[in-house]
């Protein structure tokens, strides 16, 4: 605020300031309940997690100050950083597949928007979203079992040679849990992208068609660029789901076989509740939080940049 000169300004200032002050106070009053909740249930736990991460503590007895040693272990203990690497691998399944496939499906559904099939497809695709992840995990572990439907189908079409216990095999366990995640998230992405498509001006498509564009050119030149925001939301949500995955893996493999499907979420849980290393669990949790933010922020930033 520039300094006003003269008496006139000094008359006006207290009134304006008081008004502003009162308005500010009312604003704070409105925000206060939410802010208090946020402070107690979000900020305080984060602060506590940071505090715990500096100690060696079994959760009950006395604790020992160890400084940043727990963070050092997160990056040097192969069990711990392997779980971080697994989480990054899961991004391919939880994020890339649902977004790419979701785009293709949404574009297809949009083209047949008037038919009853579109409604059925939308419902079927969204169904995984309303099923609890635990139920999805159980159902899929039956489907993927050695005597499950997937293997029966494979045998039926003459691919009996590749049947196996998908969740119990070292080479297929991670892709198998990845596919469960892809199945769960595909519906959400499809629906979000479909909603985005309904906002695109039909005149754009008409113009493109008049210029002789085929469905592929329409898709690449109009649909995808117009959906930048929606795609960003999909990618953000699914990347976070991949990095923070827990329930599907806990239900279907519990991190096994070996440690092939161990992810940070599960590792944190094991560290805190079966190994009783609350400090280590907290350190890994903070590293995971930073990793999630480090992945999510650039996506947000990138899509905002593109708008300009």
């Amino acid at each position: 605020m520039t300094r006003p000169a003269g008496a006139r300004a000094s008359h006006r200032r207290p009134v304006a300031a008081r008004l502003r002050g009162a308005r500010g106070l009312v604003g704070w009053l409105f925000v206060a309940p939410a802010l208090a909740f946020y402070a107690v249930f979000v900020l305080r736990p984060i602060a506590l997690t940071f505090q715990y991460s500096l100690y060696e503590w079994d959760g009950i007895g006395p604790s020992t100050w160890v400084g940043l040693a727990n963070f050092g272990k997160v990056f040097t203990d192969p069990d711990l950083y392997d779980s971080l690497i697994n989480a990054v691998k899961l991004i391919v399944f939880f994020s890339a597949i649902p977004v790419l496939l979701g785009l293709a499906i949404a574009a297809t559904i949009r083209r047949i928007a008037e038919s009853r099939l579109a409604l059925v497809a939308r419902t079927v695709l969204f169904l995984p979203q309303v099923i609890p992840l635990v139920a999805a995990g159980i159902a899929w572990s039956w489907l993927l079992a050695s005597t499950g439907v997937i293997n029966q189908l494979l045998s039926l079409v003459g691919l009996g040679g590749i049947t196996r216990a998908w969740l119990g095999d070292f080479s297929t366990a991670l892709p198998a849990v990845g596919m469960i995640g892809a199945w769960v998230l595909l519906g959400l992405c499809t629906l979000l992208l479909l909603a985005g498509m309904s906002k695109i001006d039909p005149a754009l498509y008409e113009a493109a068609r008049l210029d002789g564009a085929g469905p592929w050119r329409e898709f690449v030149s109009i649909t995808v660029p117009s959906l930048r925001q929606e795609i960003a939301v999909c990618v953000t949500v699914t990347v976070i789901a991949a990095l923070a995955s827990f329930d599907i893996i806990y239900i279907s493999t519990q991190g096994g076989p070996g440690n092939t499907t161990m992810v940070p979420g599960l590792q944190i849980y094991y560290l805190a509740f079966s190994e009783r290393e609350v400090g280590m669990a907290s350190a890994l949790a903070l590293v995971l939080m930073v990793l999630v933010i480090a992945c999510a922020l650039p996506i947000q930033w990138f899509t905002k940049e593109g708008e300009r």
């Binding site: 402070a39 602060a47 009950i60 440690n259």
Partner: protein
């Protein structure tokens, strides 16, 4: 305005952080006082006034509830308020539950860490007045702990068992008849031969679980360890005695033998994806000849496959050799701050000494009740598998071959070491020698961490 808003938010964050970072964690949590072990002058009872006991039991095990129901019948002033959870949940919750909301009687996982944090009542006083210290010493050995929870196997008594479970080999009598096996194998070589015959006859030799975070190959592995070597060093390792190691020559022979079974295809191909429930349903469905499991399933198998299941202890490597088995009490303890500790102790004593309670222990629990050597043993029809497991229990006592479960050595050794290592062994990604070295390294680091 904008500046004030930011500083306000910063203030809230700072306050939250400050509030959190006042004291070291654990320094202000309630620390139960170390309980004294002084013996009461007379044996405690549940009195005559109405009393509600808080129990925290394991889901899927009908025995404790059957016992509490009978107890209320005999002592109508005592009612039970029982909470049940899966064993994994109990394992994870035990310290917090014992600290925050102490139950009178609780099914316990591995107890060393609970004793270290002063969460369990020292039962030495009760042992004296009830005469538990005159029972065969081996029954209570696994429940004794040194000061601070280490080592196990000696020191004060911190828990008691409702009965004593034991593992061995169940076999399907119909499938056994098909390969001409009329009696359980007497040596390890005979067991191998039976498996080979079964495999050639198109019968799966072993149904076992090894999926998720619970590696069920630990059962046959420990049986093989018992077959090859003495039980005592394995117990020392489980009890965290200084200098104990699992990486011994006889244990290596055991892992190598297990690897041979894996390579020979004696387990199902998908064993790494099979959980306990699937294993049970496959065995009951007659899909395999042998199953390495415990006598807690005897009652169940007598019901599901009456007359068709046999049980045998793991045969020794040499004929006539001593027999050993994984055998452990169904552990129950009393919280250090339990409201009705006396009544809980009275109940535990009743379970071991009351005639009807011991009958329930056998009928429902399928295992030998704990108690004095000359205590009443209920009769079981000879064709029942329960009769076979009870007889095996007597053999184990005679040969002094009881071992705790190798998965109970530390709180995390099962999920984080044995299980992944055994799953790797199945997949051919781990060699026997390296397996034992890896488990020993995890064990050492977990002991240092505590």
């Amino acid at each position: 305005m904008a500046r004030r808003g930011r500083s306000g938010a910063a203030l809230v964050i700072a306050m939250g952080t400050l509030a959190a970072a006042c004291a070291a964690p654990g320094s202000n949590s309630p620390q139960p006082a170390a309980t004294s072990a002084a013996a009461p002058s007379t044996a405690p009872t549940c009195g005559t006034a109405p009393i509600t006991m808080n129990g925290y039991f394991e889901t899927g095990f009908p025995l404790p509830k059957a016992l509490t129901t009978e107890f209320t019948k005999q002592h109508p002033n005592v009612t039970w308020n029982v909470r049940e959870d899966q064993f994994a949940v109990i394992t994870q919750n035990a310290p917090r539950v014992l600290a925050d909301n102490p139950p009178d009687l609780m099914r316990l996982p591995q107890v060393s860490e609970l004793v270290k944090d002063n969460l369990l009542k020292n039962l030495d006083g009760y042992a004296k007045v009830f005469g538990w210290d005159k029972w065969p010493a081996s029954q209570l050995e696994q429940l004794r702990l040194g000061p601070g929870g280490r080592p196990r196997g000696e020191g004060s008594l911190y828990a008691l068992g409702l009965n004593s479970s034991m593992t061995g080999i169940f076999y399907n009598k119909k499938l056994a008849a098909k390969i001409g096996m009329s009696a359980p194998p007497a040596t390890l070589a005979e067991l191998d031969a039976a498996m080979d015959k079964a495999k050639k006859a198109g019968i799966t030799p072993i149904v076992q679980f090894n999926g998720g975070a619970t590696g069920g190959l630990a059962f046959p592995l420990q049986d093989l360890m018992a077959s090859y070597g003495p039980a005592a060093p394995i117990n020392d390792w489980i009890f965290q005695k200084p200098g104990a190691t699992i990486d011994t020559p006889s244990n290596l022979q055991a892992v190598q033998h297990l690897e041979r079974w894996i390579k020979a295809g004696y387990f199902q191909k998908d064993v790494n994806a099979v959980d306990y429930a699937t294993m049970m349903s496959r065995f009951i469905d007659g899909q395999g000849l042998f199953m390495f499991n415990g006598d807690w399933e005897s009652g169940n198998l007598d019901k599901q496959l009456p007359g068709d299941v046999g049980f045998s202890l793991m045969p020794p490597a040499q004929e006539g050799g001593k027999r050993a088995a994984m055998s452990a009490p169904l552990t129950f303890g009393i919280a250090a701050n339990a409201k009705n500790a006396d009544c809980a102790a009275f109940f535990l004593n009743w379970v071991a000494t009351d005639k009807r309670a011991r009958e329930i222990g056998v009928e429902v629990g399928g295992s030998r009740p704990m108690g004095p050597a000359d205590a009443y043993m209920p009769e079981v029809a000879a064709d029942k598998v329960t009769a076979a497991t009870l007889a095996a229990g007597a053999d184990i006592s005679k040969d002094n071959g009881a071992m705790d479960f190798i998965a109970n050595a530390t709180g995390a050794i099962y999920a984080k070491s044995w299980t992944p290592q055994l799953q790797k062994l199945v997949a051919g990604q781990q060699k026997p020698q390296e397996l034992l070295k890896a488990v020993q390294a995890d064990y050492t680091s977990q002991l240092e961490g505590n």
